[in-house]
Assembly symmetry: C2
Homo-oligomer: 158 residues x 2
């Protein structure tokens, strides 16, 4: 039940974008370098994110990407669903893929999948990029007090 790299990289990339917003657009090469993700792979992910309105692009030299909305208005559920499809443990509870199952109204196993899905949804639809940025600031403050300095927020190999 692991997310694929699409969802994992995509969230990290958008979080990076949210952390490093500066008014002007951020080129993918920067995000790729900071996050240690292949630039051309990111291009694919950002194509999907752009179509979903989660980022806005500026073409040409000095172009790049900006968030498509305020970080407080972008929930990680939107990001993950854009990149991974509906987050569901089985197709019978996938709202998009929608594989109907005969006898679903008497299927207890299906109820289990639904509960799992609902609990995931509740998490990912209640946390925004803005929340993540705020949390990062808190963590940095805390670590600063303890003498730990990490201003990179990068190099995740997962």
């Amino acid at each position: 039940m692991r997310l694929s790299t699409r969802g994992r990289y995509g969230l990290r990339a958008l979080f990076d974008l949210a952390l490093n917003q500066s008014g002007g657009p951020i080129p993918l090469s920067e995000i790729a370098r900071r996050q240690n993700i292949s630039e051309s792979y990111l291009e694919q992910l950002f194509a999907s994110l752009r179509k979903a309105g989660l980022v806005k692009s500026v073409r040409g030299a000095h172009g790049g990407y900006n968030l498509g909305a305020s970080a407080d208005a972008i929930y990680i559920g939107q990001i993950l669903r854009t990149l991974e499809g509906d987050i569901a443990p089985a197709d019978c509870v996938n709202d998009r893929h929608a594989t109907e199952c005969s006898g679903a109204d008497a299927c207890v196993t299906r109820i289990i999948w639904e509960k799992i899905k609902d609990s995931i949804d509740q998490v990912i639809d209640s946390i925004s990029l803005g929340d993540m940025v705020q949390k990062q600031n808190e963590l940095d403050q805390k670590n600063l007090k303890n003498g730990i300095v990490n201003n990179s927020h990068t190099q995740c190999n997962i």
Copy 2:
């Protein structure tokens, strides 16, 4: 983030076993037929389940499988983890696979994965096979009142 057939079939098979317990061991061929799952694939799954103590086997003619404990004492978390490994959206929060990540103590993305994992764990570690059996009985009662009869609990193609 779909579960693989190992987890999905495995849960259905053990639920089938819990529903159809009769004292004596149930051969896999029965479960395979009722649940529409390949018998030889089930053999593989039950090998893992047996090693984990979730089922007990009786070899030879008239042999088969029984639950390894009371249905009330077998939680679906145990079943899914036996067949799928730890249920985690990313390796950095996988307690078994345990891919350590440098800077994990300042990683907000990791905190997200952890919340997702925790919410899944809470669901799967709070529902037992016994709960599922009880729920099935309730559903059958309800459907009976409405004239819907479904005594098969089978043929899921998901």
